[in-house]
Symmetry: C2
Subunit: 308 residues, 2 copies
């Protein structure tokens, strides 16, 4: 089963011809989860031919315009497309007071319900869970309260060892229990331990989104060993002073976090409009953490190897 | 002096890959005036390499999201670009209560002031005036209170007839008065009538923006004889029922208004997402009003001939 991230926008606040405002879409099983929703997100979503009906949950890292000004337009459009299923938005508590009056006025006849769920960006806690996924907040260090998100796939079932289940004549009805870890008791009451009948489950895959943030080592224990880390890298080393002033990171700082957290891959994004070529950022990060790649609009990244 | 209209977006509410949400920019003298500001307008503005500093006035036809959801992002961006001069927004009275809290929260440190000016969309009146231009509201017929805008260039000065001013030895200091219509009195007190010393001024050019609206003949006296009329043409004739239900116009209805108002050119826009090719709309309008053209993103239209 594929677990992917599609970049809809990886620029910073000032729009450029090359990058859109922050937004990305995580796809797992038949569901899409959006992180951030800058202006123009719905256009990018459509351009990528993503299915609006599969989107049920939107996570907003912080209340800066370039991360959430696309919400009213997206919510309107979903209504015009005849959506009837609920939409859930996870954001700082202020989001309700800000967006509710706008939606009440502009989206009076919405054929579906929008629920705002508040979370405390200064805590790392489980903020969402469904059949396949957990989302855990990652407190970040920015000018306003901000949290990243760890998308943690739920542990999948073990794989059946067909040869052994045939040998012990395990009936089909018992297979689900085996996958979940149960031992098998034969007709003559012999207990066959689960480990003889199954192969281990695939390791659960983890994707961490950390934007916007200054260099902040406190996130390391939360994102440790993640398959993929998206970390903002707004500035190059030469502009470190500006990064510090604005509570953003340099590419080298993003790489330093990736290295210390022992993640498998680093995607850098949230590029300042001042760089016409991000190869400089890639090079600066790559010296510290070689498996670094640049985010770019419409790029799709795999989070760990696909499941069968 | 050029008087132009640049189309930033001419789609209707549902985003498509071909059209953006409503917005256009009128350019006259050294100033830019924006009409409507759907989501993504600031990106289109930048893509067209228009100068943000020249923009001082934004006119919002009505409070539907596809005509105004781009305002907070544009206002934010102008702040980040270091703008210091005032920005004026002309809109329905509800706009203040809707946008003010959003701007107060997201644009706390704006280095310039934003002024909202309310107007009554059910009246045709002068809502703005500067050195070169008057803007008059055009009450339209839509699901919510809506007004179009007539951009009327101010009458320019007369042209000097050099041969005659040389003959009568008119001093340079008197030229301004002549251009404004004064007669000239020679040293021996002979009165030379103005018409012998000047050529008539160029006729003032007029551009009318009418979107969104059902077919509405009451606008005809206001837009009569305009150089260019932009009129919405959301639907084709086959979808007239839908046009009536949603208080939009068909292309043929837009053309009928253009014909009855005796305008010189008709631009049709605000195309429904259902049409993948607007040639059908152009053809339906063209049968009634031959000088019809299709709006399209990034097209620039001249309003009457350029002035010297």
């Amino acid at each position: 089963m594929n677990f992917t991230v599609t970049i809809l926008g990886c620029g910073s606040a000032l729009p450029t011809k090359r990058h859109c405002m922050s937004s990305q879409v995580i796809s797992l099983r038949d569901k899409l989860y959006m992180v951030d929703c800058g202006e123009g997100t719905q256009l990018q979503f459509r351009a990528m031919k993503l299915n609006f009906r599969r989107l049920g949950h939107i996570f907003i890292s912080h209340l800066h315009g370039d991360h959430c000004f696309g919400l009213p337009g997206l919510i309107s459009t979903l209504g015009m497309l005849g959506r009837t299923s609920d939409l859930h938005i996870y954001a700082h508590p202020d989001a309700i007071a800000l967006f509710k009056p706008v939606l009440d006025y502009f989206c009076r006849e919405l054929p579906y319900k929008v629920f705002f769920h508040s979370f405390n960006p200064s805590l790392s806690e489980l903020i969402f869970e469904d059949k396949g996924l957990k989302v855990i907040s990652i407190p970040l260090k920015h000018r306003v309260p901000t949290a990243g998100f760890l998308f943690e796939e739920k542990q999948s079932d073990k794989h059946i060892n067909r040869e052994m289940t045939d040998f012990y004549k395990v009936p089909i009805a018992k297979m689900k229990e085996l996958k979940e870890g149960a031992d098998f008791v034969t007709e003559d009451e012999m207990v066959i331990p689960n480990c003889r009948l199954t192969y281990p489950a695939d390791p659960a895959r983890r994707y961490a989104y950390c934007s916007d943030t200054a260099y902040y080592e406190k996130i390391i224990p939360i994102i440790e060993g993640a398959d993929v880390l998206y970390h903002e890298a707004t500035f190059a080393e030469a502009d470190l002073k500006r990064a510090n002033e604005t509570f953003h990171s340099s590419a080298a700082q993003a790489a330093e976090i990736a290295r210390k957290a022992g993640v498998k891959q680093l995607i850098i994004g949230h590029f300042s409009a001042r760089y016409t070529d991000e190869d400089l950022l890639l090079s600066e990060a790559g010296k510290i953490f070689p498996n670094t790649v640049l985010a770019d609009e419409k790029k799709v990244f795999d989070i760990g190897r696909p499941r069968i």
